[in-house]
Symmetry: C2
């Protein structure tokens, strides 16, 4: 394999962005794209101006099956709405393709185990597209963790703290699906679920630091929710008026869901899901061990016996000193093509290509993805039962 013949399912906001990056990476050849949108031909024409156009498939939700059959790609990238991932991944594996799949919480307990079973049966790999693993600072901190700079890790924090009301509620204060927006499929969950809907960005780097699924395992999860819908109702009241009916409607989702994950070794991870209150976004990373601590929000590090007594140091010097080889090699092109996500999406796809060509090892597996995603159904169970519940192993 010299070029990876690549098909993409889903040409929404995320799919289009991935395609635009893949075009800059030599190892990929985008041969086909499927999406249910009738506008797909224009979308593709615009994305591939002056280049060879991929085949397009847009006659209904099952047209990607025809794409798999006709184009026989090496790799299928899945960037469709959450509820479609499982069937698409399983069908792509069955068709003999490797799969790279966008991240999300599991919709039920069986979702990822079924994909794992199919991956084993087909002998094909599934790569989680978890971009936070490829951040410059995250990879450098991982180098520091592996070098023992923080000592034995004891306490870690992460989360998804991102005000999504701009997606969930429109400017006139209407909650719910809007044509052509992410809310089309995302808003629904806030009416029916209470749990951590989107755990992977906050959790994946922490699992990498801890060696989860290698040298340690998550044993239990205990989740807690604030009162449901308070932030959404306040947002609707602000935009539509406090007197309208919608400002008094109910939701299932609490504004902030806190999950405490405990590992076999006695380490603890605190994970937040915080998406309906006004705030600057943050992934809330903190890594604390027996020799020091990193706090991403402060962009600061403290190392015992190295940092001035009880004083934080800016983390920049350390991030440079422990820079990962991915960033040593590809930083310039990553920042050039992927300014929007500070290079991490580019590095992720670059490493994906190198991994498929046997030149690099991808830092996360399908089992890892199943672990991160399991937070969603297990956090819902824990909230319902008001007690810690066991965490699955994959």
């Amino acid at each position: 394999m010299e070029k990876i013949r690549t098909a993409v399912i889903g040409a929404g906001y995320r799919g289009r962005y991935l395609i635009s990056l893949l075009q800059h990476i030599d190892s990929f050849d985008i041969i086909a794209v499927s999406d249910i949108s009738p506008k797909l031909p224009e979308t593709i024409a615009q994305l591939f101006q002056g280049k060879v156009l991929p085949q397009i498939y847009h006659s209904g939700t099952d047209d990607y099956l025809r794409m798999l059959d006709e184009t026989k790609p090496d790799l299928v990238i899945i960037a469709s709405p959450w509820h479609l991932h499982k069937a698409q991944a399983i069908n792509a594996l069955r068709a003999g393709c490797h799969v790279a799949i966008e991240v999300k919480g599991a919709l039920d307990n069986d979702e990822y185990p079924d994909i794992i079973a199919q991956s084993r049966q087909s002998g094909k790999e599934v790569f989680p597209l978890e971009n936070t693993l490829f951040r410059d600072d995250i990879l450098a901190i991982n180098n520091m963790v592996q070098a023992g700079v923080f000592g034995q890790l004891v306490f870690l924090q992460g989360g998804y703290r991102h005000d999504l009301t701009y997606i969930l509620v429109d400017n006139e204060g209407n909650f719910g699906p809007k044509n052509g927006s992410e809310s089309e499929w995302r808003s629904h969950y806030y009416e029916t679920e209470n749990g951590d809907l989107y755990p992977t960005h906050g959790l994946a780097p922490l699992c990498m630091f801890l060696g989860v699924n290698r040298t340690d395992h998550i044993k239990t999860i205990a989740s807690f929710s604030t009162a449901p819908g308070v932030g959404l109702r306040a947002c609707i009241a602000r935009r539509k008026g406090a007197d309208c009916d919608e400002a008094h409607r109910t939701f299932e989702m609490g504004d902030v869901v806190t999950s405490i994950l405990q590992t076999d070794s006695g380490t603890q991870i605190t994970l937040l899901h915080d998406t309906t209150l006004p705030r600057p976004r943050s992934l809330n990373y903190e890594v604390q061990g027996t020799k020091g601590i990193w706090n991403a929000e402060k962009k600061a590090i403290y190392i015992d016996g190295v940092s001035p007594s009880e004083d934080w140091e800016p983390d920049e010097k350390y991030i440079q000193q422990y820079k990962h080889r991915f960033w040593q090699r590809w930083e310039k092109e990553a920042l050039l093509y992927d300014g929007h996500h500070q290079g991490m999406d580019y590095i992720m796809l670059k490493v994906l290509g190198e991994a498929l060509l046997g030149r690099e090892s991808y830092p996360a597996t399908l089992a890892d993805m199943a672990t991160w995603a399991a937070v969603t159904p297990r956090s819902k169970e824990s909230i319902k039962q008001n007690r810690p519940v066991p965490f699955p192993r994959y």
Copy 2:
């Protein structure tokens, strides 16, 4: 009452500091001090150079009873080791004195209820000496909360994140009681307890913001501990060598204890106790509501529709704009006399004096103190039972 005739029990590190501040506040007249130390006469001579000396009582742990009997103070300030507080407070109340008492976690479930009962019976007040309530930023943030700037509060964080290994382990790597140091009475708890030993600094301001014991109540607590003794053993190994026996001994206390407190209104408080890992100190305050958020570590605020989109603002402007009347009136003298604690101890004692003279209202009650302190025994129960446990009401 023009001057408050004041007796102090405990002239250790904390008691001496309080005495030095009280000398600058006109409303107090320090008439007596008791402490078991044989060095008390020298200590007092040094503290009161050129001033009228108070009576001193230092013949044993019960000599403070003679002090109460002979000097009949209006107010007794208690700054002794934790296990002595309850009996001393009850005896001072019985002697007809008001009491101001240093903060700590409750040693058992009955400690504060017994003090509350005695306070009612004696008709005398107990003032918690919780200095964080009097911080410039905390009082300004409270003004903002009361003015509705953050909207309805949803999610709050606080904690005691302070590396105490400098007290618990000496430079040669020996753990345990050292003569004349706080470890004399504090270190013992790390060998026998696992819970949040010191909840009040992190929790008290959050309870003030939320109106706990006024308009809302804490309903449940769920606590989680990391593996016990990891940080202490690592510290001993660093100072004494990894091969010594003491570097392999056991402790009960986990390095980080996380407690999730849920209130009747559905608000959540996350509280940390983090005292045996190397790190800069922090009380970890965060206040998040339907209109905005304050993060003390970042010294930053975000208010919906006011702050630039998704961007933190430095909190200083707000702290100035909403400055509390205590700080408007007494900032200069507070910073002059109490540089060590940025004025908050001075303001606290000033307000205590004004409250006893009927000119101000003290912002926390004995019931509040009982609530904060209840975290200690209840967190231990929750960790033991591995489930949320009910929280008491006072």
